[in-house]
Amino acid sequence: MAQHVVILGNGIAGITAARHIRKRCAETRITVVSGETDHFFSRTALMYIYMGHMKYEHTKPYEDSFWAKNRIELRRGWVAKVDTAGKALVFDDGSTLAYDSLVLATGSASNKFGWPGQDLPGVQGLYSYQDLESMEANTKGIQRGVVIGGGLIGIETAEMLHSRDIPVTFLVREPSWMSNVFPAEESELINREIRQNGIDLRLGAELDRIEAGPDGRAAAVVTKDGETIPCGFVALTVGVHPNIGFLKESEIETDRGILVDDHLRTNIPDVYAAGDCVQLRQAAPGRRPVEAVWYTGRAMGQTLARTLTGEPTPYLQGRWFNSAKFFDLEWQIYGEAPATLPDGVATLCWQHAEKPLLIRINYRESDQVVTGFQVMGVRYRHDACHRWLEDGRTLRYVLENLGAANFDPEFYREYESEVVALYNSKFPEAPVQLKRRRGLTGWIRSLRAS
């Protein structure tokens, strides 16, 4: 009989695994289980549903008929525990589902840090579709919302409330927005972007407690400085952790996340894990063992599909890239551009005099090899940056060809010549000449030339 792969979690990790298993093997029986929604939707698009840019329907990357067509069985339900000895999932209603191989792709859950009042009605995190629904209900007719925690989800939550003209106070513990991740220039640009949108951004502000009103709902937030901010809604967006609570009693080894080896195998045979819930026993140099981003889930899902269809494949963390949009300010990163420069790494950081535009290139001082690109308000070509990083190109080479990396829409102003001019003003002894302008043709030409 064909083997039965059960995938717990219909997020990007689980679904990518399912699709790729089917692509590679027609026989395997595949079942995807989730308690959250019937169908896969894009978690990253939750904010756009609240903001009215899209409906839930629009966030589903595949038509509902896709699953039957590809013989991917879907089962809706919450799993209470995993019976690894009996090779079965046990649902909260007591029913079970047997597997030959199990993929745990259960994602994350929102953090809470034991603040008084954190469980009051009107206080919530934002991760699941259910969270979105409760946010919809919790923010009806409120005078102000407070967002606690300056991470990516926090800023999205602030933008969501703002889109409905709800005044927002945004409490961020760090002295500047995400200054633990972003260098000062980038962080400051984001601070400005947040404030320009009329958000009451409080930097260096910590939550002490949340107070209830006479109706028992959250009515005010009190900071460590003793300030009271009246509000009708509190978003706790202080990070996420792997969603592994239901594994506590199982034999599956966990730490912060589900521990896996380089083939995404857990300590139990035939049990694998992918996505946000994973903690790599051995992370690549410079990378974290838990990486709760979309791309990681997708890559793990793809890798695992190979392993599960007879081609054991190690998961390689590869080169880091990421992107986001803070209100109207877009951000992309390729390679490394940490908050503080590591020893021996220098940076060339160009900023526009007035507009929020930034291009940063990091490079090793010893051999001038480029180690990372970070852009704000400008789009860069993934292929180009990736190739240069892989090939160990020097700053000089990259600058000469920089135009080829520009991915902004046609007719947009190009700033690469200013980046080069900045370099030349710093190092006038051997000036660089910009060879390529923007565009595909420029990029292809530079590929051919090299």
Binding site: Y48, Q302, L316, D408
Partner: protein
Amino acid sequence: MVRRTGMALFLAAFIGFLGLLTYGGFEIDDAAWSEIEQSSRWQDWHKQPFLDAIGELRGQSWSTPFGFVPAINAAIDKADEAMGDGVQFQKWDRQPYGLELARIASKSPIGGREGLFLFLTVGLACIGGLLYALPRIWLEPAGIKNNGVMFSKAKSRGWIGIGVGVFLIGLYIALYFHPAYIANWIRLTDPATRLISGNPDARASQWFFYGFLYTLSILVMGVRMMVHYRHSRYHLLRTVSIIFFQTGFAFLIPEILVALNKPWFDFKNAWPLNYTFFHGWSLDQFQNGGALGWFMLFWGIGLSLLLIPLLAAFFGKRWYCSWVCGCGGLAETLGDPYRHLSDKSLKAWKIERWLIHGVLVFAVIMTGATLANYLSEGKLLAEYTGPVQEWYGFLIGSIFAGVVGTGFYPFMGNRVWCRFGCPLAAILGIVQKYKSRFRITTNGGQCISCGNCSTYCEMGIDVRAYAQRGQNIIRASCVGCGVCAAVCPRGVLRLENGPEEGRYNEVSLLQIGDGKIDAA
């Protein structure tokens, strides 16, 4: 505050505009009757039976066009009967006759004050619209602001949207089939036609009125479009181009040509979108139009067969469909708020391919028959050409392109005609798919499958299906509006022209990081 005032002004002007239709009513009194008798518009061969039949309506009055127009239609039927077999009023007689009668019999105070009323209705509506759109420049930062689109009663098939749709459908039916109903609107544009033609007695036809309103819509909604996408130079330039081609090429130049006694000709409207180009009367007109006429003939043929496909090979379909074309121009301005209503399903895609290529085949057959008939001087296919032309004109030219094409904006999105019907778009699409330098490049692995691109694609392309696999988007239907790239929150999409080689990339290099595992 200013925006509210603008909206109030627009609504008031719009209500006034609707009211004008009936305002004052209609009456064939003595003055009207003598004007009817003296009018030079009736053709001699049926003038008498026609006047006899209309004469019976003398002294009657009607409070709305919905009473008046059926009454005159019945009268014309009577005249038809009186004339007996063989000689009948044709559709193309009835329409202008009805319109002329309605103009004469109208008791509305517009008469002599057309300019004032035009300003009070259409003019104030435009000002209101601009007052509503422009303050956004100061009130909110530039960037994609689709907040609340899905909750909007106007933009997401709520009652306002339905109302707009019904209004547009009604307007198109009146324009194409029963202009007499909107006689009071049409005459509002008399001063404009006089100004352009330099003829102090000129009267606006329904087509002049239509062109006037069309151009104004593109102008005002073009300004809105530019405000909405003011951070994007691609959209600013594209919108300026649309406004330029509509005002210059589609509206002013043809009218000026007519004023100079030359054939009405829109230099950018190519066969087969312009399906009457090869009709006998049109070819005759070119040949009788002197050097300019011949130039028009050759220009038109060259445009369709050479220039349009050639430019599409270099820049994609967009150079025409979203930068130049009038139908596309209206879709990109007036229709922009409805772009997300296009159906993204695979089924819709299938229907699209059958329909649009079906219309292309129909258009080619019709033109072939027309030309055969023309060149053989009426010997070949004589009995088929007329009906085929008529059916094409009715079904495709009027119902599909007009009534459905625009009237369905608030129901099925702003590109219904361009996507499902336009035969020129079909040709351009074939070029774009098989022989073009155009594609939308996907930026490596950056896609987060959020769906904004697919949602706001007016052509119903599931952009995300490609983007999330790292695949370039090359679709026959893409008109290159650039909105997917603009709404993408992760900078994933770029419209670009480049070498054809490798255009259909299987998958991106680096979804996984090590560059070895495919992503499809």
